[in-house]
């Protein structure tokens, strides 16, 4: 066998291996989704979305769970977005290359790798106890905001970095100050990337359970929250709670709730992809 023939064989071999690996992931996901759909799809109706929790599986619904998740997401975003975007701008535009900013940078990358339960413990100590927020939506949102800060900071910095220097130069040459240039040119041009990062971050937050359990999200709350200081539960906790019940009816409920949660995540990822494509098409440097 000649060398080039051998190489071609290796090439083909690797290609098939790659296809097999990709298929593995897809097949597992498909089996999982298929199984969940078979179990839970028929359980989903308006009543399921509108009902409060109950001891009887056929009467129980996810109203408190999805409204709780929504409250948490909204407040997490409100807290994390301005903080993370400002931090991203600072690091990228004002931080320079000094020791202080490289220290910050290393720490932010480290934060991204900290297990989420640690954020829960931090949230419990700082927000629940020191700031006396109690087991509230607000405390949970603060804990999750900490968790997703690094994701949005990194996305912001990357988005800012893709703005070509020629755009800044044009702005400066017209007499714009640094802040005017950032506000009027750099930020609008990076918004696509920033939003993509925000949405990916929130779709991570929507599936988080551990930090919220520690901050005190409850497995059972009788009513949906009506203010940020109320007690709450979220979708993943509700699912976990149902899965651990012995009755078959609750397993079906859990499957149905998982479908809803997956749907939320898919939709958010879809929006992120859509925003990214739309912005990339609009700004073709």
């Amino acid at each position: 066998m000649t060398n080039s023939r051998k190489n071609r064989l290796k090439d083909k071999g690797f290609e098939y291996l790659g296809v097999a690996c990709s298929l593995f992931g897809l097949v597992v996901l498909a089996i999982f989704i298929g199984d969940i759909l078979a179990d839970g799809l028929s359980r989903i109706d308006w009543d399921f979305l509108k009902s409060l929790p109950s001891r009887k599986p056929e009467k129980a619904g996810i109203f408190t769970a999805w409204t709780g998740s929504l409250w948490i997401l909204v407040f997490t975003t409100i807290i994390a977005f301005p903080l993370a975007v400002s931090a991203g701008i600072y690091l990228e535009e004002y931080g320079g290359n000094g020791r202080w900013s490289s220290l910050l940078e290393v720490n932010i990358s480290n934060l991204a790798g900290v297990p989420s339960i640690i954020y829960g413990l931090l949230g419990l100590e700082i927000f629940v106890r020191i700031f006396k927020m109690g087991n509230s939506v607000l405390a949970g949102a603060f804990a999750l905001a900490l968790l997703i800060l690094p994701i949005i900071i990194v996305a912001t910095r990357e988005a800012i970095r893709t703005v070509p220097p020629s755009i800044r130069a044009a702005s400066y040459a017209l007499g714009a100050t640094k802040w005017q240039t950032i506000w009027n040119q750099v930020l609008p041009a990076s918004m696509g990337g920033i939003f993509t990062g925000v949405i990916l971050a929130i779709s991570r937050a929507v599936g988080e359970t551990a930090p919220l359990i520690i901050v005190g999200a409850l497995a059972y709350v009788p009513f949906a929250p009506s203010s940020p200081m109320d007690e709450f539960t979220v979708m993943p906790i509700q699912i976990f709670n149902w899965v651990s019940r012995p009755q078959h009816g609750f397993t079906v409920n859990a499957a149905a709730a998982i479908i809803i949660l997956l749907l939320i995540t898919f939709v958010m990822n879809g929006i992120a992809v859509y925003l990214r494509n739309k912005w990339q098409k609009k700004i073709n440097w």
Binding site: S166, I167, A173, L174
Partner: protein, 252 residues
């Protein structure tokens, strides 16, 4: 020439250890076109950016000497750089419109000065686009994205954008090098018109362009200002052999 608006006095520029401009003293006559010529890397762009302090953003940049605009040192501590740039506009080598509408591009300079008067902005945008010979082509869709324009139109838009703040001086760094011949002709025509009211300093690689457009020509070579004078004289009988060789295309 006593009606000069810009003057560099013994300007030295360094990028780290590299001596990019060596002791340059030169005066720019008001309401005229001054061409900076010379082979790549000789310091033309650097010298152009000295006048609106755009080198300030380059980390390795260091400078000594004085640069005067109407007798005032623009590198003085108290100089407001953003004010300076309102009177010294710049057009870049590659068209660099903002990813916004045509209107917003031209209005940007006014907006950042805090001007809110809609009618005033509207009029100034129209006037600038007319000066830049772009008005007729874009008047029906000022809200279209500037990125949808052709390269030549984009460059004229960038000229309009610079003119909208009514600068006294226009610095142009090889403004036609990225354009096709027809667009180049349009921009050259434009420069000829503009010199009535503006002082123009233009970097160019194109000898015909320099001789067609400019009143004064400065020839740079490896960071030195080799020769400076009236364009006719530089092109008809240069005093230095190296200038002669460059102009006639014997090296480049």
């Amino acid at each position: 020439m006593d009606n000069h608006i810009l003057e560099s006095k013994s300007v030295n520029v360094y990028y780290d250890d590299m001596h990019a401009l060596k002791n340059i003293s030169m005066k720019v006559e008001a309401n005229s076109v001054t061409a900076l010529i010379g082979p790549s890397g000789c310091g033309k762009s650097t010298f152009l950016r000295v006048f609106n302090r755009m080198n300030d953003y380059i980390e390795a940049f260091r400078m000594d000497g004085e640069v005067l605009m109407e007798g005032k040192n623009i590198y003085h501590k108290k100089m407001q750089v953003d004010e300076l740039r309102k009177s010294i506009g710049m057009v870049f080598q590659k068209p660099n419109p903002f990813p916004k509408s045509i209107f917003e591009n031209v209005a940007y300079g006014l907006k950042i000065q805090g001007i809110k008067d809609k009618e005033f902005i509207q009029n100034r945008v129209e006037k600038s686009l007319q000066q830049a010979a772009l008005w007729d082509e874009v008047k029906s869709d000022l809200n279209k994205s500037a990125l949808a324009l052709s390269g030549g139109q984009q460059q004229r838009l960038c000229i309009a954008r610079a003119l909208a703040v009514e600068p006294r001086v226009l610095l142009m760094d090889e403004p036609t090098s990225a354009l096709d011949p027809i667009s180049t002709a349009k921009v050259e025509e434009l420069i000829n018109e503009l010199k009535q009211n503006y002082t123009i300093v233009i970097v160019t690689h194109n000898m015909q362009q320099a001789s067609r457009l400019s009143d004064y020509t400065a020839f740079f070579y490896m960071g030195d200002l080799i020769e400076f004078g009236k364009t006719e004289e530089i092109f008809r009988n240069p005093k230095v052999e190296r200038t002669q060789n460059y102009i006639t295309g014997r090296f480049g």
